[in-house]
């Protein structure tokens, strides 16, 4: 058992923590708390945690009561015009009432009774129950928003949810997004932290028929900022989801992605990249449930692992018996920059339908000699050519990003990080 989990459960059981919650939320919390109490704290023998240790979190004292932090950094994405919402130290810091939102877009706090119509049937229902940190977040998340995009609403301005972890605090924030039929929205989850902290940010997305979601998750947690988060998607018919994940690593950083198809002819693209330096660790687990026919998924995961860093990737594609004509692709490519760098990769294909096309694979990349030769014949110094080619591996995925300022910002930030990894 873990001291931290005991504290979390004790906190969730205090009457005070529920008094603050809206009725719909209080009910969901109680239900998740019950399930949480039935779960065992994972050990290295628990399959989902076999390669990621919880030592850094299990013996600490939990601080689930939000900290009242008054000043914080604002991570900018230059040139990006977005609706920014801050979560700092477990508190929602942005006064939602100050926004003039475009028509068709509503944003509620997690405590708002008005969110009930959207949230009561979705909160904690899209996210699979097996994630223990998901249940923890259900039970204690205080800061969060419910975003509702009405039918046919095309929201051009991205909504950016910024999760910040400061020294010693915990940040349990929660996002629920409903994208109704024929609607379109862009959601950016931007998490940053390096100081000692615990972060569980969970997000759930219900993407209805003919709707479009562009999603970004930046898990830029490093050093002592512990992070176990999740992005969980439910996809209706003829809809499209495009998700870009960017992660660094810390003493503990893990992200679960779940996609569940409920309607046919939908298409999901996931591009994930991780750049791990020094002794950083990052764990990405994705599960794609092709439960209905005619779905398409394409997941590309590219990682660069330097020094003593460790990456763990599990990509499961589950094609149910009825899911004929599924087209599923999953590719994990890794570049190891040092002998001590480590990757565990496990693409898993489980197919129960017979008329499907699937491709999956994992590779440990090496520099392509012919490409290197080409760059050298143009006079580019060898050291620089190697940087260009190695980073090209990540740049490939950055180039797919739709929003120019995000592309430019990531190119800049990731290439700077990469160059510092090369020399160390």
């Amino acid at each position: 058992m873990s001291q931290w989990l005991e504290d979390v459960i004790a906190h969730a059981e205090q009457p005070a923590s529920n008094e603050l919650a809206a009725t719909w939320l209080a009910e969901q919390r109680n239900s998740s708390l019950k399930k949480l109490k039935e779960q065992k704290w994972p050990t290295r023998r628990t399959e989902a945690w076999a390669n990621t240790s919880l030592v850094s979190v299990e013996s600490r004292n939990a601080k689930p009561t939000p900290a009242n932090i008054t000043s914080w950094d604002k991570p900018a994405i230059p040139g990006l015009d977005s609706i920014d919402i801050y979560f700092v130290g477990g508190q929602l810091k942005t006064d939602l009432s100050t926004f003039t939102l475009p028509e068709g877009l509503s944003i509620y706090t997690l405590q708002d009774e008005k969110a009930e119509a959207v949230a009561a049937s979705r909160f904690a229902q899209i996210k699979p129950e097996r994630h223990i940190f998901g249940l923890i977040n259900d039970a204690i998340a205080n800061s969060g928003v419910v975003i509702d995009v009405a039918e046919n609403a095309i929201i051009d301005t991205p909504i950016r949810l910024i999760h910040l972890a400061n020294d010693g605090v915990e940040n349990h924030s929660r996002v629920l997004v409903n994208v109704a039929k024929h609607a379109k929205v862009t959601i950016i989850e931007h998490g940053v932290g390096e100081e000692d902290s615990v972060n569980t940010s969970m997000s759930e997305f219900d993407v209805a028929d003919n709707a479009t979601l562009y999603h970004y998750r930046f898990a830029l947690f490093t050093q002592k900022a512990l992070h176990v988060g999740g992005c969980h998607f439910q996809v209706g018919a003829s809809s499209y989801i495009n998700s870009t994940i960017v992660a660094f690593g810390s003493d503990l950083s893990k992200l679960n992605i779940d996609v569940n198809y409920t309607g046919e002819h939908s298409n999901v693209d996931i591009n994930a990249m991780y750049l791990l330096a020094e002794g950083e660790a990052f764990d990405l687990q994705s599960t794609i449930e092709h439960a209905v026919p005619n779905g398409t998924s394409n997941e590309k995961v590219h990682g660069i692992i330097g020094d003593r860093a460790r990456a763990n990737f599990g990509g499961r594609i589950h094609i149910h018996r009825d899911a004929q004509k599924t087209l599923a692709q999953l590719n994990n490519r890794n570049l190891l920059l040092s002998r001590r760098a480590l990757i565990n990769t496990k693409p898993e294909l489980e197919i129960y339908a017979d008329d499907v096309r699937c491709a999956h694979g994992a590779t440990i990349a090496e520099i392509d000699d012919e490409s290197l030769y080409y760059l050298l014949t143009r006079g580019i110094p060898r050291s620089q050519a190697l940087i260009m080619l190695n980073f090209g591996f990540i740049q490939e995925l950055i180039n797919d990003i739709e929003i120019d300022p995000i592309r430019a910002w990531l190119t800049d930030m990731l290439s700077t990080r990469f160059k510092s990894m090369e020399v160390s």
């Binding site: 392509d368 490409s371 030769y373 080409y374 110094p381 060898r382 620089q384 080619l389």
Partner: protein, 256 residues
């Protein structure tokens, strides 16, 4: 006067296989030399050996560029010294933008010459001009190097690099193959625009057609790893009409 490129008795090969077997070639500033010859004769190999590609070993002979020992230099040093190789099959490098790639190439040469590097803005202007000159749409600058380019587009991209790099000797390996009639003219115009008394060209081709546009000063036949005949532009015409038969090449036997 120092020869621009001087190759003497060059023997080279890959692993155990000898490919170049005593090749001599001298090129002076401003000259255009065409090299023709049957498939597998060693034409591309000559380009690789001159550029210093890994795996190609020189067993005998010498090559100098402006009096400097070429074979002793690193690949990137040869480029900076003024050697440019347009590839028969340019490689695709997804993830490295064509623009960044060309800017880094040009700036590498500038740094070596002690010149200021171009800023992104300055280079963009030059690149756009070069791109127009080879008639590639401007979005080709943003794409990955040769990524998804058609055969002909790759060749034009090679010529664009040549225009930007301003090398002193250009080795063009079958830059004309895979080009449609208009593209052939575009590429030839691109090459002709770069002709100058200080710059020389080696044009490897199978077709006389290209030489109608790029008038060579000399034509050489490379067969079985050697230059077996040299002449003026009329030699190319003769080959176009008669094939290599008159040189007795159909009967060349592998010597032990």
């Amino acid at each position: 006067m120092v020869n621009m490129l001087s190759i003497k008795n060059l023997h080279a090969g890959i692993e155990e296989k000898n490919i170049l077997k005593g090749l001599d070639l001298t090129i002076n500033p401003g000259e255009v030399h065409a090299i023709m010859g049957p498939n597998g004769a060693g034409k591309s190999t000559l380009g690789y050996v001159l550029s210093g590609r890994d795996g190609y070993e020189v067993t005998e002979g010498e090559a100098t560029l402006n009096g400097q020992d070429l074979l002793d230099m690193e690949i990137e040093e040869r480029a900076v010294a003024g050697l440019f190789l347009a590839f028969q099959y340019p490689v695709e490098i997804p993830g490295v933008s064509n623009m960044v790639f060309m800017k880094e190439s040009v700036n590498a040469a500038r740094i070596a010459r002690g010149q200021e590097e171009y800023t992104a803005g300055e280079f963009l202007k030059l690149a756009k001009e070069a791109c127009k000159q080879v008639q590639l749409p401007l979005d080709f600058l943003k794409r990955g190097v040769n990524e998804g380019f058609s055969g002909g587009e790759k060749k034009r991209n090679e010529i664009m690099q040549m225009i930007l790099l301003q090398p002193s000797i250009c080795f063009l390996d079958e830059t004309d193959s895979g080009l449609d009639v208009d593209a052939l003219k575009t590429v030839a115009d691109g090459v002709n625009s770069q002709r100058s008394p200080e710059r020389s060209f080696v044009v490897v081709t199978h077709y006389q057609r290209l030489l109608d546009y790029i008038k060579p000063d000399f034509v050489h036949i490379l067969a079985d790893g050697k230059i077996i005949k040299s002449g003026d532009a009329s030699l190319a015409l003769k080959i176009e009409n008669e094939g290599y038969g008159f040189l007795g090449l159909n009967y060349v036997e592998e010597k032990a």
